[in-house]
Symmetry: C2
Subunit: 144 residues, 2 copies
Amino acid sequence: MQKRNPVDILRENQLKNTRQRVRVLEEIAADKAAISQPDLEKKLGKEIDRVTLYRILNTYEDKGILHRIIDFNGTANYAICSSACTAHHHHDEHLHFNCTHCHKIYCLETKVPAINIPDGFTANTISLIAYGICDKCGKADKRN
Amino acid sequence: MQKRNPVDILRENQLKNTRQRVRVLEEIAADKAAISQPDLEKKLGKEIDRVTLYRILNTYEDKGILHRIIDFNGTANYAICSSACTAHHHHDEHLHFNCTHCHKIYCLETKVPAINIPDGFTANTISLIAYGICDKCGKADKRN
DNA sequence: ATAGTATATGCAATTAAATTGCATTAAAAA
DNA sequence: TTTTTAATGCAATTTAATTGCATATACTAT
């Protein structure tokens, strides 16, 4: 787990240390679950311009600092990458769980199993997402 | 495989037989790969209003006639469901392959393997998507 | 410290995706 | 054929994402 502080992460990736970039990393690191672009914008919209937020998120994804998970609705969600991720390849191939009640995405420990890809197809990344009810929503509320 | 004709599919699902609904089914059934909402709109936009298209796609998904696959960019793609799908539950749990070159999504035969879900989490659907280069793009073009 | 340079940010405007309300039209049932 | 029910098209709105450009800021080298 990349538990270094934001300033270190920025320096290691040759990115300028700006208030906005630090805030984005802080906010995303604060939650164990992935956070959606709209939620990030709600939290940071008063201190960071929305365009800047988009650009920071894209930069972080390119550098392998964050990984992006697309949820059931097609919305982008972000979480801190494991340290194995690099600018050239993401190695966050674990199970994601997308709660259809609270819409949170959890990064779970379960590894993506080996998948048999047909001849002629070359897979670079595998995404495995389970949709359902998370532990909190399952307890708190019987609706779904 | 649901290879019945559009009119039968509509009747079986208590949906009115309209020109627009038939056209959407024809168009989606024509291609083995899933087709994106934007591509569908390009093909059908002159004969069907875009709002109607959205509504038809949603209805078909609810009824278990089509399944929706979200690609890497968060765009909705649609393919005909296997006949096992119902209004209450989709059973299209096979591997999808999203070509990052031509952007097509292929429904492949490979079944989604059993996944170990942590206690407290209840999964209803599992999505397994591989991103990479499809057989056609691999042959036709060495760029990716 | 300071000046210079490279880069990041904010703003305005634009493009695109998706949704809502409502009047009109069309399909199926009586 | 008439009635009823549901689907469609249109206008308007909301939300997401992107682009160009002027300004501001961080880092580098002096």
